[in-house]
Symmetry: C2
Subunit: 184 residues, 2 copies
């Protein structure tokens, strides 16, 4: 969206978004959410800190954008709701297990509790798309889908936060079975 507000004058933006996102996840993975300072991310990405702020209004916004990129579109494969849920949950668990993603998610998430502006970014940019797509794929009410998202993401993040490790496979399968049970 809005890559060019002007027709075509001036120095073009350097194509460093991918490097910045990668550097962000690397920094979070290595130093934790709080330890991943904007200075560090900038250095790791080979970019000036001011450039980061020219593109993203805050650290929370940068990390959210990074998460949106890291998750991407959800794979909603399968013929029935059970299959769709199974693949989606496995996919979500795997993404949260990717280096830095879980910690980044948990961090931005909690910042959002105290920061309404960030909460709106998080809700609109990250959650809303999945909410809509899932609602459509499952044929369920918004309330029910919202509930499922809370259960799945909440559980995965809680495990990540308490143990510092992503959830093991057998527990993910238990989570899938439990959620499927709701829709039966």
């Amino acid at each position: 969206m809005q890559e060019s507000t002007s027709p075509g004058a001036g120095r073009p933006r350097a194509d460093v978004t991918a490097e910045v996102f990668a550097a962000t996840l690397r920094s979070v993975h290595e130093f934790g959410y709080a330890g991943a300072t904007m200075d560090r991310i900038a250095v790791a990405a080979g970019v000036a800190k001011t450039t980061l702020y020219r593109r993203w209004p805050s650290k929370g916004a940068l990390i959210t954008a990074c998460l949106v990129d890291a998750f991407g579109p959800a794979p909603l494969l399968g013929e029935d709701r059970e299959a769709v849920l199974t693949t989606a949950i496995r996919w979500g668990a795997a993404r949260i297990g990717d280096p830095g993603v879980g910690a980044a998610f948990a961090g931005v998430f909690t910042d959002a509790v105290s920061d309404p502006a960030l909460r709106e970014i998080l809700t609109n940019e990250l959650q809303a798309p999945y909410l809509r797509v899932l609602q459509d794929a499952l044929g369920e009410s918004e309330q029910r889908v919202r509930f499922v998202i809370d259960v799945v993401m909440g559980t995965l993040l809680h495990r990540m936060g308490i143990s510092g490790e992503p959830m093991a496979e057998d527990d993910v399968e238990a989570l899938i079975a439990m959620v499927i049970g709701v829709f039966r």
Copy 2:
């Protein structure tokens, strides 16, 4: 534990723990986790900031202690596992809905992701007691109980973080039904 390392000499500690905890929750409720600075908490409690640090080693430790106090012992009432789970989950949801508690929990939780020392405090002081008691009351393996705690607390906190509001009653009941389904 260890309220008096010395027999009885010197000025006694002022009995301000209750005021500090109350001021902590008030501050978190009003300003959010990040906005609840140690200075603000101290002023709200009518205590010097240095006094806070004389009693709790860090902000995270203070908030965790505050949460331990706010939750207290879990009411494990009921004759069968379903009843126990139902009362326990309703109770947890209500506590998280108490002013400041949900935000404080979410905040300290995410700080813990980046801070192993705090994670240990959180795990030992807050989670471990409930884990033990629930394991005993439900007669289930540690893995299963841990899973249930992840599901319940994760879901409630995720809702709190995304919406800024505690989970509504009917969703809590859905959560209870879902968890009970696991044990059947």
